[in-house]
Point group: C2
């Protein structure tokens, strides 16, 4: 941790990523400049090009890390309730929303159309698939136990993913007024998750 002789760094790549995450939060993806990232990391403006092909690849690398965290959270939710798929799903939803709320700029980078999605460079697409598969497994667990309707698994998966994803995106975009504290948001995630499981319709209604 004190070998600062040879050019500048032991691990410039991750130093650049850290600096970029900070600048992303400050300035947004449009105003973020690769030159400012390089300066923050203490290298020349050309140095990042040894590690990222261009600015969009730097942003994609940040998004990729986000998808990896998401996949981890899905796996943890499944492991956390080995015999209770309903709790797995609720926890997965809460974890999803929590991750997005803690890193709103990264969430928006992952899904906001600035970096290309699954179509992008291979590792990004793979990380994204991994997160998706975690959710699929959780729904499959519930269907195997007969907890969920006998509908096509993908219909249930899309419904659950849409709900939790939508909530996360609305919250990180500041679209939900009066919802600020993390506790409030987790409550909302839980409420909405229960609604998805039991439905909006009144028990008595036709």
């Amino acid at each position: 941790v004190k070998a600062e002789k040879t050019y500048h760094h032991g691990d410039l790549r991750s130093a650049l990523l850290r600096a970029a995450v900070d600048l992303l939060a400050e300035r947004g993806p449009v105003e973020l400049s690769l030159r400012a990232v390089a300066k923050a990391a203490g290298v020349s403006h050309a140095a990042p090009y040894r590690h990222f092909r261009d600015k969009s690849e730097l942003l994609a690398a940040i998004a990729q890390a986000g998808f990896e965290s998401l996949a981890d959270a899905m796996a943890a939710a499944e492991r956390g309730h080995p015999d209770d798929p309903r709790a797995q799903l609720i926890d997965a939803g809460i974890a999803y929303v929590r991750l997005a709320v803690r890193n709103p700029h990264i969430a928006q980078l992952m899904f906001g159309g600035v970096v290309e999605p699954a179509a992008g460079p291979a590792p990004l697409g793979r990380a994204c698939d991994e997160a998706f598969k975690g959710l699929v497994r959780i729904i499959e667990n519930g269907q195997r136990d007969g907890i969920y309707k006998d509908a096509p698994t993908m219909d249930l998966v899309v419904a659950a993913w849409s709900m939790v994803h939508g909530l996360a995106m609305l919250v990180t975009a500041g679209q939900l007024k009066g919802v600020d504290s993390p506790a409030q948001i987790e409550d909302l995630a839980r409420t909405v998750g229960v609604l998805l499981q039991t439905g909006m319709l009144a028990p008595t209604a036709g």
Copy 2:
């Protein structure tokens, strides 16, 4: 349509917006340049500054138009089924998803964190509120008729909005593999909407 004498335009502002929408689709918000927009509209690179304070205000104006279309669609869904709040909600969801799918780049601009949300300039925030209120009205109609659960209205609204918003965002981000055709997407919106109303749980399950 042939008065090209005085400087250049009769309505440069909307010509710039049209050009910007095209370039947005081609190059994305980061690579979109105000100078290219000006050139496409046939004016000097300084001319846009008479109509927009800066690049972000141009993008915000595009997003605002998107929110206005969304508010219109919500109102149309309500009017389309005067006595059937369930159909109002399903139609609103389908319209929401359809708008997003037809203009993915605008949808991502509206919600992707590139332009500031409700916090932004007044007209943007107002347009966004208007769309939201349309959905609230539809849910309130259902509660008034006793169709929906007697839960807090905002819980139902957030659930419904999250679901439809999430589906729209996942589709526009290309995150849902194998879902391409508009018909397929509308089917999915309908399926997911019914799931939200009736719930994921099996009727028999505890």
